[in-house]
């Protein structure tokens, strides 16, 4: 996929908000002094009267979002994943999650690919935290096309949604002309019978590349894109477990509590098979160029190939 067009999903987020702002006049966007980075600034430029800067005060922002949404507005609250899911966790739980208020949390700069800013800003825990909140929908789009579709799906869904976007430019592999986003539905991108690679977000394009490499080595790998981590598509996961007998999960997130955990929770109930998890292995990140960090932490095509071969060996 070296020749593919690349675009960071945070860019897609900002563009989608600006575009959907015309269609949904009741759409308001909040940010916490990061509009230039989260790309909500694109919306701000077009609809300044519907953009509210809350300053560097994320806890208050989540409460303000809840109060505004309680009056019937569609409200997006944006900041980095670290501060949305981390700092403001309890505000999200108690002021948004518990009352099931219609707030959309647009969390950018998720995962290790934040890069040079280092460990304080590399949020590898947000999916785990958000999964524990009852009724919270979690979407982690894989590319520009999916991210834009996810923003509108979040608007159309009545209830809290956590949207996860990245800083790093990601290959655009979905075709905007025939892509269809269905909340809670995984997408089988490639058939295969030897192993199922279940990926989310930035790792989906790596999984596709890995499957091509595996094919060259005689391994028939299925690739599934899970954009909605909660509620998760149990059917597509159980079917993959039954038909391939072994699963590899790939996510730019801790191996604790994220996609890998969610998939393992599903298969233990319907079809227990080995689940080999690729993610950040319970360590903090550090500074460095995003692409190099991804390789270092095993979030790469090469590591997926290696782990998939190991997974297949477990079947014997």
């Amino acid at each position: 996929m070296a020749d593919a067009i690349k675009k960071a999903t945070r860019e897609s987020y900002g563009e989608a908000l600006a575009s959907l702002g015309e269609k949904y006049e009741n759409l308001y966007v909040l940010d916490a002094d990061l509009a230039a980075a989260t790309k909500t600034g694109v919306f701000k430029k077009k609809f300044p009267e519907r953009f509210i800067d809350c300053g560097i005060a994320e806890s208050n922002m989540m409460g303000v979002a809840a109060g505004m949404a309680s009056t019937g507005k569609i409200v997006f609250a944006s900041t980095f994943a670290m501060f949305a899911a981390g700092r403001a966790f309890e505000q999200v739980r108690n002021s948004i999650g518990y009352p099931h208020i219609n707030v959309k949390i647009g969390a950018t700069h998720a995962g290790i690919s934040v890069g040079e800013d280092g460990a304080t800003h590399q949020c590898n825990e947000d999916i785990a935290l958000m999964r524990t909140i009852p009724g919270m929908t979690i979407i982690n789009p894989a590319d520009d096309v999916e991210a834009k579709a996810a923003v509108e799906a979040a608007i159309l869904h009545d209830g809290p949604v956590y949207l996860r976007f990245g800083r790093l430019a990601a290959p655009v592999f979905n075709d905007p002309n025939n892509y269809k986003f269905e909340l809670g539905k995984g997408i089988e991108l490639r058939g295969g019978k030897d192993v199922a690679i279940i990926a989310t977000g930035l790792m989906v394009s790596e999984a596709i590349e890995a499957a091509k490499e595996l094919e060259a080595q005689g391994i028939d790998a299925r690739v599934i894109n899970i954009h909605t981590i909660k509620p998760i598509d149990k059917d597509i996961i159980c079917k993959a477990a039954k038909e391939t007998g072994v699963i590899v999960t790939v996510e730019e997130h801790s191996v604790i509590g994220g996609l890998g955990s969610a998939v393992a929770e599903v298969v233990t109930e319907c079809c227990p098979v080995p689940v080999v998890k690729i993610g950040v292995n319970d360590v903090f990140g550090h500074s460095g160029p995003a692409v190099e960090l991804l390789k270092e932490f095993g979030l790469s095509k090469d590591n997926i190939v290696e782990k998939a071969k190991y997974a297949v060996s477990l079947k014997k």
């Binding site: 009267e49 300053g55 409460g63 809840a66 009056t71 108690n94 002021s95 518990y98």
Partner: protein, 281 residues
Amino acid sequence: MDPKIKRDLEITACKIRKGIIEGVYNAKSGHPGGSLSIADLLAYLYFVKLNVDPKNPKMPDRDRVVLSKGHCAPGLYSALALRGFFDVEELKKLRHIGAMLQGHPDMKGTPGVDMTTGSLGQGISAACGMALSGKLSNKYYKVYAILGDGEVEEGQVWEAAMFAAHYKLDNLVAIVDNNGLQIDGKITDVCSPMPITDKFEAFGWHVITMDAHNFDDIERAFDEAEKISGKPVAIIQTSVKGKNVSFMENQVSWHGSAPNKEQYEQAMAELDKQLKDLEGK
């Protein structure tokens, strides 16, 4: 204030206090002290000030109340029940399994509750959001947030205070119930938030002080609040924790504990006597 209106409000406040004791006694837990200290405020809000309709609790242009000090739910529930939002019999089921009235306010399940609260510091942010939303949509409703004096130790309160002043939310009134006590003792001993008035002033609010148990003064304070434009208003009310139940007054032990049968009977007898005296006026 008109003497008859004043007497009626005193009667209503006494009934709110009876409902608080009834609820907390039957729940065998809860927070009577800080509920009793805001009973007069709740009587004034729900029976004089607020544009609300118990038959249509979600009326879009209604005034809103956010009980940011959510643990004082027994006070709010008692006021809502007396105002007709639900049957007063619900108070006896407070905190029971399957009951509508949760330990802390739940906007999804209880008519008249405008925001889910209980985790201190969060309600005032939601109140800011409601007030800002009203301004953005040219609505004329008001938002009243009720905070504890211990609650203002939460940093989020000051994030919200900064926000409200920045966005000139003059449709927002925050009432801080300054009864001087929090769970671990006197607020000035625990980790003093004083001076609360100066802090709100420094954050750009118009500050009014008020005697929490004098309806003439309550009316004066809210009349003044009504005249303020361009900035949010903080009313710091000086109150007595446990007000009007003799053995609960100014006793920190009644912050979060329920009376036993004997104490319940004594409290109700005292309140019944106050009610009889007021009705005989």
